[in-house]
Symmetry: none
Subunit: 406 residues, 2 copies
């Protein structure tokens, strides 16, 4: 069932503003059974007060048990079915690095590898080089291989053994198999076209692999490359088309700016380092009149979780809490605060656990939840929703969605 | 969206064990409004203690308001979409009786009927004969009709007027219409092939119907047969393929062993009568090292509910409670306790009401539910899930499911 067709029919203009705050990876776990999660441990007087006058609930972003990557988690929050709107691995890397990546380009995720004298893979990660070493080799390749046939080739360092290639030229499909054999002792695979439109891409990838081996033949460790996840920039319907909103994104990290741009949001430039709290608020204030939907992203809650830093994640939640009065001063008609997935410090990774959702909006019912925490959200009047169900709820509370059926 | 394709991609091996305990039909209803359900009335000190350190929730097995049969209820618990993975009526009977039923066989559910002199149906149930009488007629038919053309025919007693026929031979499709006209005064219908591959089956069913009338022409009441639900043994992807687990089933009743075998579980032999509590525990202990997923089934909670025996069902719940310490002693990494549907004694039948779910596993949050009951489960941190959503959740907690999307 394509709900976008329904939403398109039901669009209604209204002079209201929706603000979606995403605290990346905010959901957590207790370090010991029965203990508090990061949100439960945090002192959040402003969030507590807001929760008392809001409706709460839980969001399972993608599906019970499925741990969302950043792509599926965010697309779900934007209302895009994460099983239907897929972003390939190469495209996601390009978005994450924030490089020039245009319609028609094909992005490939690369691993530097060590190949033996007969061409077989000895180490799929070339001994995990430093990122500095990666930069040196990428510069060498970029200079030696500016193009293959009429296709421009752009190399970018990701980290350690990981790099990105963007191919730019006419007639490049992305239906191409990986060259990574996924195990040592075998030679890299030949890239094969999965459709007619991708034959040129496959040929270029194979020529590129051969050229890389030539250029790197005297390198002691990094003397080959394995490619995965060839993908074009996905072409998704925009939030303007689907929901009829003018949407803006305020985020610091390339991945989130990239994901927002995929759904047609205007990405507003933010000044400042890291999470740039003040820079983001400044941009939000300055652009408040220009849009009716804002996506405001904070990254550090996830980063601290990935580091296994429980107190650090608590501190980031408290930093957000301190910022909250400035956000509320803008008086958004509809304010949602949630996460794109859980990142419990206990697990040092994303997890499948649902995230709390706070909704401050007109037309709420009484709600028993008193804090923006996982356990309080369980009591909330919004119940337990799927991530992609949030967006129509926000539109409804904002008066932007008409009645369905007569 | 076929989630099995997703799960296949995300399989991860881990050295953990999942134990899924199914208390058949465990969900109940109060005998009088405001009174306790069977679970609420039961004294369950071990379950109560476990609930205190577990996460709880509710499962709607198939769909709100839909009362699950044993097939859909169990397939949902195994993660198989009960609207997609269908078991025909004939096949379900064959599984329930535990008879030899092989790939390529076609099973048909039969009703003994009384036909009038012109061949019209006078009684679709032949006056509800005793099961003993059914056995006598089945034996007579089996002796007289060992085969039709080159197809072997096997007759089995189910109960009263109900019997089963299994056809075994080459080229038997199961796209065949029923011969039961569903009302009296009409003659039995001719079986028709719905596809080319089922033409032989239709012909054999019609010849069989005629032969049955010949053989039974002197019987006073049982002188005809009506057939429904021709079906082959379904061919489902195995749990090993979909989830990457080695799965074992421990159950006493043929239906549940049959359903487990349909999803590729190894069915372990259990000694003892009825629910065979000790026999099942013995098999579980002896095979603990050999598998990473166990399905452990108890039937009597359902049977007592079907009997309308409220105290009997309470007693069966208490019997399970007494067994629980022995189960916990095996220290499963992930333990789920739930039902395949409700069978309230009040209704003497399966019902659509959700069943409580208890999950004891690593990586749980605080949970307000303190007992394994319908009303406490409503407060649980797992929320209200659909039956088929349980399996990925178990895999996630067991570390057997990778991240979805980068």
């Amino acid at each position: 069932m394509d709900l976008f067709a329904v939403f398109k029919e039901l669009q209604q203009k209204s002079d209201t503003k929706i603000l979606l705050v995403v605290l990346d990876g905010v959901g957590g776990l207790p370090l010991e059974p029965g203990g508090p999660t990061e949100l439960e441990a945090a002192r959040t007087p402003n969030l507590d007060r807001l929760a008392g006058e809001s409706a709460l609930g839980l969001l399972t972003l993608v599906y019970p048990g499925l741990t969302p990557g950043s792509g599926p988690g965010h697309l779900a929050l934007f209302g895009y079915d994460p099983f239907r709107y897929l972003v390939g691995r190469g495209a996601l890397s390009a978005l994450g690095l924030g490089v020039d990546f245009r319609d028609g380009d094909v992005a490939l995720r690369g691993n530097f590898a060590t190949l033996g004298p007969d061409g077989q893979v000895l180490d799929r990660r070339a001994g995990r080089p430093s990122t500095e070493e990666n930069r040196r080799v990428v510069a060498k390749l970029q200079e030696a291989i500016p193009r293959i046939e009429d296709v421009a080739v752009y190399f970018y360092t990701e980290s350690e053994h990981r790099f990105l290639v963007v191919l730019r030229g006419e007639g490049l499909g992305d239906g191409v198999t990986d060259t990574d054999p996924q195990k040592t002792g075998l030679p890299p695979l030949e890239a094969k076209a999965l459709d007619e439109a991708s034959r040129k891409t496959a040929r270029v990838v194979n020529l590129l692999s051969a050229r890389i081996r030539e250029v790197l033949r005297d390198e002691p460790k990094i003397n080959g490359a394995l490619f995965r996840g060839a993908s074009r920039r996905p072409s998704f319907p925009s939030m303007a088309e689907v929901y009829g909103v003018r949407a803006a994104a305020i985020a610091s990290y390339p991945m989130y700016k990239g994901l927002a741009s995929l759904v047609g949001m205007e990405v507003l430039p933010v000044e400042g380092e890291g999470d740039a709290h003040e820079g983001k608020l400044k941009v939000l204030r300055e652009n408040w009149e220009g849009y009716d939907f804002f996506y405001l992203h904070f990254k550090k809650t996830d980063a601290k979780g990935e580091d296994g830093d429980f107190p650090g994640k608590v501190a980031e939640i408290e930093r957000f809490d301190a910022l909250l009065p400035e956000i509320l001063a803008l008086k958004p008609d509809v304010l949602a605060i949630t996460g794109d997935h859980s990142t419990p410090a206990l697990l040092r990774a994303h997890s499948w656990h649902p995230v709390p959702l706070l909704l401050k909006a007109p037309y709420l019912r009484r709600d028993a939840a008193q804090r923006f925490t996982e356990s309080e959200a369980t009591k909330g009047s919004l119940g337990h929703l799927r991530g992609m169900e949030l967006m129509p709820l926000l539109l409804a509370h904002a008066g932007k969605l008409l009645k369905y059926g007569a």
